[in-house]
C-alpha cells in the first residue's frame, strides 16, 4: 500500500514535470507566433547598419566612435509645414546636407549631397508600407510619405544607403520660408556674388560684395533658371559659400547673446520638421556652433541629362573617400 502510494507520488511528480515542460514550450511558441504575426512596421527601421570594418585603398578602416549625424533637408515649398493628407507629397528635398559631429575631436564637418544624385529610394504605399525600390534623384525620396516625419525618414534611409549604410541619428527639414527668416535673424549675410543674376535680381551683380537680406538670400541660393549655368552643381557652390558665411554670423550672434540659439530654434519651429525635441535641437545647434567647423565636403561625380531631368552619378572613389574620412579611422 505504502509502496503503491510512493509510486503514485512519483508518477504525479513526473506528470507535473511533463506538464510544466508543455506549459513552458507552448508559452515560448505562442510568443514566437505573436512576434511573427505582429503588424509589420509602418516604416522601415533602416538599412543593415554600417560595416564595422571598411577596406579602402588596400587598408582597413574601423568605425569611428563618438560621431553623431544630423541630416538637414531644405524643401522646395514656401508653405508652413503641414501634414499632407495623403501618401505622397510634392515637397522635394532640394537641399541635402549631412552634418557630422565628432564629439571626440570637437569638430563639425558637413557633407553637401547633390539633390540630383541617383539613389535607391524606398517607395511607400498608402499606409506607409514599403512597396519596393526605385532608382531616382535623391530629392524625390521626400515625396513619398506625408511630407513630414515619414518623408524625412525615407530620405534619411536613402542617404544612409548611399553612404555605405552609415547611421543617420537625426533629421531636420525646413521649408524655403525659413531662409529669409533665419538670414534676417542673424542680421543679414555678406557674400561676394559668384554668378550673373542679370534678369533675375539687378542688385546681385557678379563680383560685388553685398549683404543679403530677406528674399534676396533665398534668390541667391535657390536660383537656377535664367543663369548661364543652370545646373544644381553650380547652385551648390553658391549654397556652400552662403552657408559658410551664415555659420560665421551665427557664431557671432551666439557669442553676443547667450539666448540666441534657443530663440532661433523657437522662431524656426514653424518652418521645421524634426525627430528632435526643442531641447534636443537647441543642444545640437549649440554643439554645432561651439565645435570647430572644419569644412563642407562634396562628392564628385557627373551631371548627365537624363530622359527628362538632370541626373547626378557620384564617383564611386569620391563617395567612398568621403565616407572613410568622415566615419572611419585606420585600423592599427
Amino acid at each position: 500500500m505504502g509502496r503503491s502510494r510512493e509510486l503514485e507520488k512519483r508518477y504525479l511528480h513526473i506528470a507535473a514535470v511533463v506538464f510544466l515542460f508543455i506549459f513552458l514550450l507552448s508559452t515560448v511558441l505562442l510568443i514566437v507566433n505573436l512576434w511573427e504575426n505582429r503588424d509589420s512596421a509602418r516604416f522601415p527601421e533602416g538599412t543593415a547598419g554600417p560595416q564595422s570594418v571598411l577596406e579602402y585603398n588596400g587598408k582597413e578602416y574601423g568605425l569611428k566612435e563618438g560621431v553623431r549625424t544630423l541630416l538637414v533637408l531644405g524643401l522646395d515649398k514656401f508653405d508652413e509645414v503641414e501634414v499632407d493628407t495623403g501618401y505622397t507629397n510634392d515637397r522635394q528635398a532640394d537641399f541635402v546636407m549631412l552634418l557630422v559631429i565628432d564629439d571626440n575631436d570637437k569638430t563639425v564637418t558637413a557633407l553637401h549631397i547633390n539633390r540630383d544624385t541617383m539613389a535607391d529610394i524606398t517607395v511607400l504605399g498608402l499606409a506607409g508600407e514599403k512597396i519596393g525600390m526605385v532608382n531616382k534623384q535623391l530629392a524625390l525620396a521626400h515625396t513619398y510619405g506625408n511630407g513630414k516625419e515619414v518623408s524625412c525618414r525615407n530620405t534619411a534611409e536613402a542617404v544612409s544607403s548611399l553612404l555605405y549604410n552609415i547611421t543617420i541619428d537625426h533629421y531636420v527639414s525646413v521649408t524655403m520660408d525659413s531662409v529669409p527668416a533665419y538670414n534676417d535673424l542673424v542680421g543679414g549675410v555678406e557674400i561676394t556674388v559668384l554668378d550673373d543674376f542679370t534678369g533675375i535680381d539687378e542688385d546681385l551683380v557678379k563680383g560685388e560684395t553685398v549683404t543679403l537680406m530677406g528674399d534676396k538670400a533665398l534668390t541667391y541660393i535657390r536660383s537656377r533658371k535664367g543663369l548661364d549655368d543652370s545646373t544644381n552643381s553650380t547652385r551648390m557652390v553658391r549654397q556652400r559659400q552662403y552657408l559658410n558665411a551664415l555659420y560665421k554670423k551665427s557664431v557671432e550672434c551666439k557669442n553676443s547673446d547667450e539666448n540666441f540659439v534657443l530663440n532661433a530654434v523657437l522662431k524656426m519651429a514653424d518652418y521645421m520638421v524634426s525627430d528632435c525635441s526643442t531641447n534636443q535641437l537647441t543642444s545640437l545647434a549649440q554643439t554645432i556652433i561651439d565645435y570647430k567647423f572644419t569644412e563642407i565636403k562634396t562628392i564628385e561625380g557627373d551631371n548627365v541629362v537624363g530622359e527628362q531631368h538632370m541626373e547626378f552619378f557620384p564617383d564611386v572613389e569620391s563617395l567612398k573617400k568621403n565616407v572613410v574620412e568622415l566615419f572611419y579611422v585606420p585600423k592599427n
Binding site: 502510494r5 507520488k9 504525479l12 511528480h13 506528470a15 507535473a16 506538464f19 510544466l20 508543455i22 506549459f23 514550450l25 507552448s26 508559452t27 511558441l29 505562442l30 507566433n33 505573436l34 511573427e36 504575426n37 503588424d39 509589420s40 522646395d76 495623403g86 501618401y87 505622397t88 507629397n89 510634392d90 522635394q92 532640394d94 539633390r115 540630383d116 517607395v123 504605399g125 498608402l126 499606409a127 508600407e129 514599403k130 512597396i131 519596393g132 525600390m133 526605385v134 531616382k136 534623384q137 530629392a139 524625390l140 515625396t143 513619398y144 537656377r224 533658371k225 535664367g226 548661364d228 549655368d229 543652370s230 545646373t231 544644381n232 541629362v305 527628362q308 531631368h309 538632370m310
Partner: protein, 222 residues
Amino acid sequence: MKRIFAFFMTVVLVVALSVPAFAALGEFIASPSGVPAPKLVSYTPLSPECTGKLVITPWSERHTLDDATRARLEQAYNDIINSQVINNQLFDEMKKFEESHGISHKDLAIGALFDISVFDCTHHEAHDGFIITLKPEVWGNIVGVIHLGENGWEMVEDTMDDEAQTITFTVNDLSPFALVYNTNPDGPATGDSSNMWIYVVLMVVSVSALGAITYNLKKREN
C-alpha cells in the same frame, strides 16, 4: 586639298560634339517632380467608334481633376485607409486576394492610387469600357489591380507581362484604380492565427493539470 578637307571635317566634328555640351550648360533642365502615376502604355476602347482619350492622373495631382472626380478619388483614398481598421467592402475584396493568390490580406498593401478618365469623345456617352495596359513605377511584388467601380470596389482580372513589366486589364467603367502589392513575398504567411489558439489551449490544459497535480500532492502530504 586633302589636308584642307581633313581640317574642315575636324572643325565640323569638334563643333558638332561641342554643341550638346554647351546646350546642356545653357539649357535649363527642369527638376523632376512628385510621385508619378503608372505609365499609361496603351488603351483600346471596346467600342470601335469611340474616339475618347484616356488620361491618367496620380494622387499627387488630384487638384487638377474636376470636383466630382477628385471627390471620388478622395473617397477611394479614405476607403483604402479605413480598410486597415474596419471591415469595409474594400476589405472584403482584399480578402479575395488571399483566395486567388494565397497571400494573407495583412501582407497586401496599396502601392499606387490614381484616376483614369476619358476625354474628347464626341461619339457617345457610354464607352463600353477599355482594355488598358499600365507600366507601374514599382514592378516587383505587384499582385494586381483593384478598382472603385459603379458597384463598389472590385478586383480586376489582369494579365501581367514580367518582361515588359506591364499589367493589362479590361474595365467597363472608369474611376479610381489602385495597384496592390505583396509586402511579404519571402516570409511565412502572417495573419494565420490558428496555431496561436493551439498554444493557448495547451497552456491552459497544462496549467490546469499542474494545478490539479499540485493540489493532489499537497492533499496526500496532509
